[in-house]
């Protein structure tokens, strides 16, 4: 299980994470961040494979992928 959070104080709404995610975890939303742009929402968190590409590709370090709970083997 993972917990993905998008920091609304840091996100500038460039939508790189939406296109870079191989599992389409992020979707566009109508929520606005402090910068005034529409910020993405991590909707399909159960699909996440923890490649952490969104963390590396976010130019503002706004995305945090946190591993929570036990590993299922």
């Amino acid at each position: 299980m993972v917990k993905i959070s998008v920091d609304k104080a840091r996100c500038k709404g460039c939508n790189i994470c939406i296109s870079i995610c191989p599992k389409q975890v992020f979707v566009k939303s109508i929520k606005r961040g402090d910068y005034g742009a529409n910020i993405p929402e991590a909707k399909n968190q159960d699909k996440c494979i923890e490649c952490r590409m969104c963390e590396r590709m976010c130019p503002d370090g706004a995305i945090d992928v946190e591993h929570v709970g036990e590993d299922v083997k």
Partner: protein, 276 residues
């Protein structure tokens, strides 16, 4: 906020001045990853010149010199000669490193001094409003070339290779893992390391050079228009060569040569010549 990013960034100075979707942020995260993997937070110093990409280290909780336009490499050379134990990382844009600082790049590379230059190449002068830079592609319409750029673009990595840099690589912002690895290897490498990063500028280069203002689309194009080549291989027609071009550990480093010549002359390191 990302935990690692929060550890290295000055949170009080956020948000960064980069435009939404700028590649500088990706280079910043890659540099943070490389520094964290090496665990040298206290032993690293960053030097940068002027330009958008020169602001990358200014947000990091590290020792930073924000030097004059194009003069990042001479400042770093002085710092390296004074404090040879420090690892030095330079962030420099295409205009900063190849145009106004081109002279300093060629001498730094020829000396093989232990510096790591990250050249963030976005094909345009972004900060000043979209003028033609040395790496702007042939025929691109910009503010200062309204009928298409007449010059052939300069190739940073190939130039550094020809001048004798001993670690040369080129990556794009679409390859953040490889970029972090290249920065890590460049810091570890004893000698002049030159890492060119093809980076997107959605505002200026997006409007004038690439024809799209969508950062995600520009990253997708960078992935499509590049080809990873090993040493000696040539890419297919119309593609840009990326990858690790050279890693030569045999050449003697400049500060070591300087120290050796001082010792030969009987001058102890760190002391004046008169005191012995």
């Amino acid at each position: 906020m990302n935990k690692l990013y929060e550890e290295y960034i000055k949170t009080e100075s956020l948000p960064t001045l980069f435009c939404p979707g700028c590649g500088n942020g990706i280079v910043q995260v890659a540099a943070i990853n490389a520094i964290d993997e090496l665990g040298i937070k206290d032993d690293i110093a960053c030097v940068s010149g002027i330009g958008c990409s020169a602001w990358i280290p200014c947000y990091l909780k590290l020792d930073v010199i924000h030097a004059m336009h194009g003069r990042a490499i001479p400042f770093a050379e002085g710092l390296k000669l004074a404090r040879p134990e420090k690892k030095i990382l330079i962030f420099s844009g295409d205009g900063d490193c190849l145009a106004i600082g081109g002279n300093h790049l060629i001498h730094g590379a020829a000396r093989n001094i232990d510096l790591t230059v990250v050249n963030v190449n976005n094909n345009i002068y972004g900060m000043t409003g979209g003028q033609k830079s040395p790496t702007t592609p042939y025929g691109a319409v910009t503010k200062t070339s309204p009928f298409g750029a007449a010059d052939e673009p300069m190739k940073g990595a190939e130039t550094a290779m020809a001048l004798g840099a001993t670690y040369v690589a080129r990556w794009t912002t679409a390859h953040p893992v490889q970029l972090a690895k290249a920065i890590k290897e460049g810091i570890e490498h004893k000698g002049f390391s030159f890492i060119e990063v093809l980076s997107q500028c959605p505002v200026q280069a997006g409007k004038n050079v690439m024809g799209t203002k969508e950062p995600a689309e520009m990253i997708r194009r960078y992935r499509e228009m590049t080809c990873v080549c090993k040493d000696g291989e040539e890419p297919p027609e119309g593609k840009v060569k990326i990858g690790l071009f050279r890693r030569d550990e045999t050449k003697v480093e400049y500060t070591e040569r300087i120290r050796a010549s001082y010792e030969e002359a009987g001058i102890a390191a760190g002391k004046g010549g008169q005191d012995g």
